[in-house]
């Protein structure tokens, strides 16, 4: 019946011919996509560069696309193609998913989900969760959400109130719900979940409220728990085998009670290690990779010991959750350097030998290159020259060589000044990208330092459990191989990094933290967004700026790409917020100045206000004469 109506209109309207021709092409493509949708093979869908079917593009988290229609020669002609307002005004992290002819967009709290028809940009369905707003104040750093997951005809949303929801991808109907935590104990969620086989993996937030972190695997068909691994406490609750799980710092088994022995008394129960970052996966090794956050209170004196396994990268068997190896980046944390940043999987030559690697840019300012089978440290180096809390990581013990001047442990009520990086790290959640063509990582970084003073705090369930005062400000002028002049002070740098040598190839100074997720493409273009709101395209080899467009609000989302009906598109969410939206007054002027706070935040307000918009870019038809979307 619908077909008949459409035909009737088609014959009569001026756009009839165009519609009819377009409809045939779309029908063909939809048939292909529909077939793929039903196939249920997530890896096949991810391998098709027309799709963007998980947060990192693919399981390795490389955020690399084989699409090359947009390239270094023509990206200067890029232009906005269409836009979509999310209707929400909070920090917009993450990015849209695209599968065939449908885009799936998520929002910050209240975590609405839209299914968008790529042909018409109309809304196919909308899911609007009902969540108790009392969850908002127990989310430390804005009510962000890092995105959706897709598998087997289902869209998965991890809500702020910890409810994990499975939606029918075609209709938006709710299939099942799982309550992953308890907001009255300040357990909340901001992470994007990840589907592996028949399981969906998701974490928990609340490290600033003494929440004991964990990762859970739920069945994608009915939401039942399959396994859960805690970050601290008894071995069996952490899914750690004392004889088999390897401590990658030493290459030896972790031994019995590795966590309990590294805490005093019951401190591990409020020991943080929350798991709000990104998940990646190696299908050949069947290993899930992720990191854990800070060990509860920011006052180190209240928790003597290494505080395992906070600040740790875990490699876990995806079927059972058992930890194959673990490596703690920052034992006995004194600075809030959460270890949750994305663990990117690449295969590169290290010292002449092709090696399966896991590379990550830790909050603590060190870039780690490890063997992802064993966890063995291969190259570790600072990815911001200003980093000073440690001089290096000792490769035999795996432990940082601390610089006591910038330590805060035992210095209760003593203000430690000039620590780099600040608590928000040399990089926070904003994910980097990797190009197999250049062999380089493209890393959005913060260049911020801090004064940090611990103080005594008591724990109350559901209440903040912080215990330090912070003052953050721009870092010093140090920069490695800048591609342009720095104008005044800076709080961000976008770098190209070689993980096989531990060196910065070049740096792009930015006035504010680069809080967006990067994208690398086969067109030899790299994309990122600035906190003022510019979507930028740079040359993947040289870092030269090729295109810039000011979107409606500051960018803290991830740049994603896909193709539809023969055209490549770039999409980015704008909407300032997240920890990047926190007021930082000190630094750009005299810190003893009075009223009318000057400095970082006030400056940011000169560039951007709140927003919530998806902007989609493409090349104009004139730039595409005779071209097809490349598939490499």
């Amino acid at each position: 019946m619908i077909g008949i109506i459409r035909k009737t209109i088609g014959y009569s309207l001026a756009t009839a011919v165009f519609l009819a021709a377009g409809a045939a092409a779309v029908a063909e493509e939809s048939k292909q996509s529909a077939g793929k949708l039903g196939s249920g093979n997530l890896m096949e869908l991810a391998a098709d560069p027309a799709n963007w079917v998980m947060w990192g593009g693919s399981y390795d988290g490389q955020r690399y696309s084989k699409l090359d229609q947009i390239n270094a020669a023509n990206v200067a002609q890029l232009q906005p193609a269409w836009t979509f307002s999310t209707g929400v005004l909070r920090g917009h992290e993450g990015g849209p998913l695209v599968l065939g002819d449908t885009m799936y967009i998520h929002t910050p709290f209240p975590n609405n989900v839209f299914a968008i028809d790529l042909k018409t940009q109309g809304i196919k369905w909308k899911y609007s969760p009902t969540q108790d707003p009392s969850v908002i104040p127990v989310m430390c750093c804005d009510t962000v959400n890092r995105g959706l997951a897709y598998a087997e005809g289902k869209i998965f949303l991890q809500q702020a109130d910890t409810t994990l929801v499975a939606l029918d991808a075609k209709s938006g109907e709710v299939l099942w719900k799982t309550i992953n935590g308890d907001p009255s104990k300040a357990q909340t969620n901001t992470n994007a979940p990840l589907v592996i086989g028949n399981k969906i993996i998701t974490g928990i937030s609340g490290g600033e409220f003494g929440v004991r972190g964990y990762v859970s695997a739920y069945d994608i068909n009915d939401g039942k728990l399959i396994w859960r691994a805690y970050s601290t406490g008894p071995d069996d609750t952490m899914l750690i085998d004392p004889e088999k799980t390897i401590d990658a710092a030493t290459g030896e088994p972790v031994g019995k009670d590795s966590s309990l022995k590294s805490w005093e008394g019951d401190q591990w129960k409020i020991g943080g290690g929350t798991t709000w970052g990104w998940f990646t996966y190696d299908p050949d090794l069947n290993l899930l990779y992720y990191g854990t956050g800070n060990p509860g209170t920011w006052n180190p004196a209240q928790r003597p010991g290494d505080n395992k396994w906070s600040m740790t990268i875990f490699a876990r068997d995806a079927d059972t959750g058992m930890a194959k190896w673990a490596y703690q980046m920052t034992p006995h944390d004194e600075w809030d350097y959460d270890g949750v940043n994305e663990k990117i999987l690449v295969d590169q030559e290290i010292d002449g030998e092709m090696t399966p690697l896991v590379v990550h840019f830790d909050r603590n300012g060190f870039g780690y290159t490890q063997n992802r089978e064993t966890g063995k440290l291969l190259k570790v180096a600072k990815y911001d020259p200003a980093v000073n809390w440690a001089s290096e990581i000792d490769m035999t013990t795996g432990r940082p060589v601390l610089n006591d001047e910038y330590g805060t442990s035992g210095k209760v009520d003593e203000n430690v000044t000039g620590i780099c990086p600040a608590a928000l790290g040399s990089k926070d959640q904003q994910p980097a990208a990797f190009s197999p063509k250049t062999g380089l990582f493209y890393v959005p970084t913060n260049h911020v330092c801090m004064d940090y003073e611990p103080n005594e705090v008591a724990y109350t369930a559901g209440q903040p459990y912080v215990g330090a005062t912070l003052s953050m400000y721009p870092g010093p002028g140090d920069i490695t191989n800048p591609v342009k002049e720095i104008e005044g002070e800076r709080m961000g740098t976008f770098i190209a990094w070689d993980a096989t040598t531990g060196k910065i190839k070049w740096s792009i100074p930015e006035r504010f933290s680069v809080w967006s997720g990067a994208l690398a493409t086969a067109g030899d273009v790299v994309f990122y967004g600035s906190l003022e709101g510019h979507l930028k395209a740079i040359d993947a080899e040289t870092g030269e700026l090729l295109y810039s467009f000011k979107t409606p609000s500051g960018i803290i989302g991830n740049v994603n790409t896909w193709s539809f009906e023969g055209k490549q598109y770039i999409g980015i969410l704008s909407g300032i917020g997240g920890w990047a939206g926190i007021g930082m007054a000190a630094g750009l002027e005299d810190p003893t100045a009075g009223l009318g706070a000057v400095g970082g935040y006030k400056d940011l307000q000169n560039y951007t206000q709140l927003g919530g918009v998806l902007t989609v870019f493409a090349l104009p038809d004139s730039a595409l004469e005779g071209e097809m979307v490349g598939q490499n």
Binding site: C140, T237, A458, T469, G581
Partner: protein, 177 residues
């Protein structure tokens, strides 16, 4: 011509009515499913891990609901009190209201807000919280109630002193000397 035009408009309207929803066949099937399954399956793991729950280390709290009515004269806060206020502010309020009370993209600047808020109003909103619903966007702004938090309530005067001094220009950025 006119009849044809009416037919077209009528068909167009019908077409539009169908575009935003499922096809007839699909929606019928969905209706059947809806009738047989009214609620989606809900798995509740919210109390998992409680066997390792941790006890609060803060002392018992008295009921402080009456705090807002008990006094309206603002207290005198000593220099030492301002330091306490600064520390308590940073441990509890700064994550939303920003360093030095300058605000964030998700909570207002208290340097501005406190200019128009007196002591009684301040104690009321801190003690009892406030939820503001914006019906045009469906968005919430939520100030939590701190009455159950002994660390905050025991220093509410000092926190008042700190943010008020910031708002009046008496205190600059950073730790009070």
């Amino acid at each position: 011509m006119r009849v044809k035009k009416t037919l077209i408009v009528g068909c167009l309207a019908l077409g539009l009515a169908f575009t935003g929803s499922l096809s007839l066949a699909d929606s019928h099937e969905k209706q059947n499913q809806d009738e047989s399954r009214s609620e989606p399956k809900i798995n509740d793991y919210s109390s998992m891990g409680e066997e390792y729950g941790s006890e609060s280390t803060t002392p018992e709290m008295e009921d402080t609901d009456s705090a807002s009515a008990s006094r309206v004269d603002p207290p005198e806060v000593t220099q030492e009190g301002l330091v306490t206020g600064y520390e308590k502010y940073n441990g509890n309020c700064a994550q939303c209201h920003g360093e030095d009370a300058v605000g964030s993209s998700f909570a207002p600047s208290l340097v501005n807000r406190m200019k128009n808020l007196d002591y009684a109003g301040f104690v009321d909103v801190v003690t009892n919280g406030k939820t503001v619903f914006d019906s045009s966007t469906g968005g919430y702004n939520v100030m939590p109630a701190w009455k159950g938090n002994a660390a905050v309530m025991s220093s509410i005067d000092e926190i008042w002193g700190y943010v008020k001094a910031r708002a009046e220009g008496e205190l600059g950025l950073g730790r009070p000397k």
